[in-house]
Amino acid sequence: MRDSDEINELLRPLARISPDEPGGRVGGARAQALFADIIAQERNTTTEAVLLRRPRRRGLGRRALLGLAASAVLALGVVLGPSLLGGVATSYANSAVEIHEEADTYVARIKNPYADERKFSEAFRSLGLNVELRVIPVSPSAVGEIVSLGGGITPVNVPIGARKEPADCDLTGSGCFMVVTVPAAIKGTPDAVHFELGRPAKPGESYENNHQPATRPGEPLAGVKVSGRTVDDVLGEVGKRGLSAEFRRVVVHEGGYTVEPLAADQVGGDWIVFKVIPAREGVVGLEVTAERQTGLEYAN
């Protein structure tokens, strides 16, 4: 018999509204219309009488749910400020994050960086902000930083800030919080602003900032030249620092490249390293090719 995880994995793609997608917008006009219609009803009316005045006429019709997607919020959020009827709320808090407005800026204090990642975006959406925030495990040099903006590789021109409270505190200790600031001007923009904020990784957890080199300041191979050297050479540097290595094969395409998993026993010592990335604590990933590639720009 298949185990529970396997069955979940098989069934998740069957959901018409994916379990991973953010979705139904409680701040949207349809949700507000339904809310207004419901509370306008007397509580002691019969269901039939109430349903006669369902908000179809306000637009919650057959198209209302097209394109809606899911958001699995694990705990109730608390909205403060103006109500659903009286305009847009100005602050929101759930167990993961607390957001308030402050001088044309929304200030989001990350209460629990390890919370279900959907809770962060849910909080922004509740305030009418089309922001998708992911808090991802990263290598030490990227902790507390905005790791990507604009959905990975597409840059967007939005001044999103990140800082620690209190300043320069240690995020692995208690009483130290990440704070993200988002300009209120993005309110009402049609395209979602995606960004990723780095948090400390849990023991054994893989880093998700594995597009950033492991030779950046603050990383275990800081300042070491690796790009263009042989695998044997680079493994020497890796071993000297008490690290271990994994490998990924670089496949060059027109205009870019992809990396694929690669078993260590398939790699020759004379293969060429393109880049070394942080994989998880104590482990780096060597992105390699069997031969030097003209399509790759090796770092100096």
């Binding site: 069934l11 018409r16 379990p19 979705g23 139904g24 409680v26 269901t47 209302a64 899911a70 909205v79």
Partner: protein
Amino acid sequence: MSDDTHRFEAVYRATYDQITAYAGRRCDSPQDAADVVAETFVIVWRKIDELPPGAQARLWVYGVARNVLADHRRSALRRQARHRDLDAEMADLYGDLADHSVERNAIAQAFATLPEDDRELLALLAWEGLDRREIATMLGLSRNAVRIRLHRARRRLSRALEAADVRFTPTDAVVSTGRSL
């Protein structure tokens, strides 16, 4: 605004996304899903005095939605004789999954052969992300009963999948893709 309205607003805000998704995943047409969402929250409003505190509120609302959906399906069955063609057309417009892989269709067919209660249990885990304790609370069952029912549901699904010859392939075989130089 009264306390009742505040309580309703809080629970509405906290669960609207999830209930729309829950209904959308289970209704064959968007208008049915819209009806289920609207009716669910009308009942929550009428019964706001019964709303349990804290995290249980969400499970209670799920329970209301499940009952509304069950009622809706009973009346939908009666309507189906009249509107079968239209229903099918709407289902096509709305219900198609983006991915039509052979394997996924086979999984969907195997899943569809299960009894309704089995499907609901497995879906609450896989789609809504509820755990067993939450499912037990929502359905008003003991945790042990949920464990046993889930075990049976998984066994039935496994057999159906075997009959359809579905093999499990992990989806995360590739480490990373698509970086520009």
